[in-house]
């Protein structure tokens, strides 16, 4: 149950985000909000777990998280992708303590119960002496992720067994995801393991920044312009389109600043450009052709950055693709996982240049990344305090300035130019709707009834 005070803040917030375009500061750093969020947001959303290329071979696995629950995401001996709760059915011990590896079987370090990578319990030490061989192993397999599905190589999991399909959840966002994920025949590969680091900041600040905050680049990343690593016009991130779709997703698509010639299609290698023109729809090609930066968030915590940047002040800009996961560790702490991806069929010189451009800008010690994290830490610290929590935050950018763009060829609600906060409002509104929607009642079997779940969803989307 939501405490009354929280409910009031959220209900007022839902009203205000529509009427005044403001958002309550209390949603950022409050332990009770965070507790409710784990169940109400992360308990019902499709959360990114891994990219299929991270587990290419049978037996490959990574350990990934939905809020605090951890899952072994693996490719079983038949080649199928699976997700098992990383918790032994005997006493709940972590079955797998390495974050990645290859194993046909997982053996619990506590008493040795052993599972195959389909999740079945296959071995119990001293089974005869301790259980008289009467333990029915088929009843004690590792708990699967309630829902697991993939979209163009991205593996998602959802804790709500009655949730809508991943396909419906992604909805119109797929048009834009395809531009990034589906532009080559052989697809993408994640290079190396993701870089990971812990920041004393609320995860929503990362999601908010990537979904629509082109505006901060002018100030926060000004030094990049001064160093010649970003275009010379400090307003370079303005010249784009600001688009959001249902279920809280959104992105910004930025083209070249006026008078600055940039290569088409992010300057991607010729063979990839040839493939994408064939694979994508004419509308998608049209949207992608003039792009210099794509920044977006798939609700709740997966962000995308596809940027054209220079690795230093003398090199020509090269594009790179990063996915990042803002994994919540508490109201004031997150772990960032940053993935670098590249088209499998891109030439080696491009893969190398692209990787270097990523590492120096948005890698763990990249200049952009460090600029951002410092702001998010500070906001989180400030908004954790009593008086500050009572503030409203201003989400009014673009109000009375821009009307939805009737000429935009893609789906979703688009606004001309990228200095706007429609995507962030859409994200926060959906987040608050999930927060005020009580979990569907459980029937006698302890399972959420379909009707109740559907009703909750309609309420959330109303």
């Amino acid at each position: 149950m939501l405490r009354n005070e929280l409910r009031q803040i959220l209900e007022k917030g839902l009203h205000d985000v529509e009427a005044d375009w403001t958002v309550p500061a209390a949603i950022i750093n409050d332990p009770e909000m965070h507790d409710a969020e784990r169940e109400r947001v992360f308990g019902r959303s499709w959360v990114f777990l891994a990219h299929e290329s991270e587990i290419p071979e049978r037996g490959d696995y990574v350990v990934r998280y939905i809020s605090e629950d951890q899952f072994i995401v693996c490719r079983d001996e038949d080649g199928e992708v699976r997700g098992h709760l990383n918790s032994c059915r005997h006493r709940g011990m972590q079955v797998c303590r390495a974050e990645m590896g290859n194993a046909s079987h997982f053996r619990c370090p506590y008493h040795g119960w052993t599972y195959n990578n389909k999740g079945s319990l296959v071995g119990v030490p001293a089974g005869r002496e301790a259980y008289g061989n009467k333990l029915d192993k088929s009843l004690w397999q590792l708990k699967p992720v309630p829902k697991l599905d993939t979209y163009k190589g991205l593996i998602f999991g959802c804790l709500d067994p009655d949730a809508q399909s991943l396909d419906d959840y992604l909805g119109d966002m797929k048009f834009y995801l395809d531009i990034v994920l589906d532009r080559s025949d052989a697809g993408l590969q994640v290079v190396g393991a993701p870089q990971r680091w812990v920041v004393d900041a609320n995860w929503k600040l990362g999601a908010d920044n990537f979904i629509g905050d082109a505006y901060h680049t002018m100030m926060t990343h000004r030094s990049m312009v001064e160093l010649g690593l970003a275009p010379p016009d400090p307003k370079f991130a303005l010249y784009g389109e600001h688009v959001h779709t249902e279920h809280g997703h959104g992105l910004g698509i930025i083209g070249p600043p006026p008078g600055i010639p940039l290569p088409e299609f992010l300057g991607m290698p010729e063979n990839i450009v040839e493939q994408l023109q064939r694979r994508l729809s004419p509308e998608q090609v049209e949207v992608f052709r003039p792009v210099a930066f794509i920044h977006g968030t798939v609700f709740p915590n997966l962000s995308i950055g596809n940027f054209l940047m220079s690795k230093d002040h003398v090199s020509p800009p090269t594009s790179f693709l990063t996915l990042r996961l803002w994994h919540p560790l508490g109201p004031d702490k997150m772990e960032i996982m940053s993935f670098f991806l590249v088209e499998k069929e891109a030439p080696d010189w491009y893969k190398e240049e692209s990787y270097q451009a990523y590492v120096r800008t948005f890698g763990i010690s990249g200049a952009f990344e460090q600029d951002d994290a410092e702001n998010w830490r500070s906001i989180t610290r400030v908004l954790g305090a009593q008086y500050a929590k009572k503030m409203e935050l201003n989400y009014q950018m673009g109000r009375g300035v821009y009307e939805p763009d009737p000429d935009w060829p893609g789906p979703g609600k688009a606004f001309p130019m990228d200095y706007a906060e429609a995507n962030q409002r859409n994200f926060m509104e959906y987040w608050m709707q999930l927060m005020v929607t009580d979990p569907a009642p459980h029937n006698k079997n302890g399972k959420v009834s379909d009707a109740a779940a559907a009703e909750a969803l309609t309420r959330a989307e109303a």
Binding site: C96, S104, T114, G123, V124, G127, E129
Partner: protein, 90 residues
Amino acid sequence: MTIIHNEGQDPIIQIANEFTVIQVSYTSTGQRERLLVSSPRLGFQTLLDPLQLESLTWQPPETFSKLLDTPYGPGTELNARPLSALLGKD
């Protein structure tokens, strides 16, 4: 994978994951050629000849799951008796 070289002996290949470590080496005595597979942690070892190795190549994953029914080795037929049975007998 690690290759362990001991002077005068054939090298030992060691592979490991989070769950265990296993060593494989080649042994021959005159006519006999075998692979020695050993588990340094559990203390078991087996010598596999070409036919035995060949038979492994068509085993489905379930065979290995069955082999792991007793994950710490086969155990022996214990004549298990409680401590109470020993009490008061000196």
